[in-house]
Symmetry: C2
Subunit: 75 residues, 2 copies
DNA sequence: TTGTGACTAACAGTCCGTC
DNA sequence: TGACGGACTGTTAGTCACA
């Protein structure tokens, strides 16, 4: 599984926990809604600068974001 | 401190621990030598795909890479 | 509410060097 | 050995109409 897909899954999971729509998250992170779609579906290869905005919008941080089994599994 | 500078510092630290030159790391990660310089000095905004290669070349992973005080400090 | 294809400006990333 | 520069190509950021 590509890093992009892993990140997409993680973002989706965190977004669902917070009961946010893609649009609400997009607004918080100051990116376009369709951009969030692209990231969540693993189609975008994000830069750390944008990823930082999204992670903060999810009220998380890099440490906890990547401390998830999604990033440890070999799938 | 920008996310790029934090990542640069972290990569430099891990590289020093392993006693690698920038060139050796670049070779392992399959990126250009001058690119490592740019990343370590915080001038480059890396994509997660390349960051993954660099982290693996440092024999680390995203979880432990970002589990560092550099990414927690507000500096 | 979410996904897709297409688009341009900006920049990621390479390769050639010099200091 | 590492920082830095210019020139270059490929890819991402950011947005839109549409489904």
């Amino acid at each position: 599984m590509s890093i992009n897909k892993k990140i997409g899954k993680r973002i989706l999971a965190l977004r669902k926990i917070q009961n946010l729509s893609q649009e609400a998250l997009a607004h918080r992170a100051n990116v376009d809604r369709t951009y969030i779609t692209g990231v969540e579906t693993g189609k975008r290869n994000v830069t750390v600068r944008v990823l930082e905005r999204i992670i903060h919008a999810l009220e998380s941080n890099f440490g906890t974001f990547f401390n998830d089994k999604v990033f440890l599994d070999e799938k």
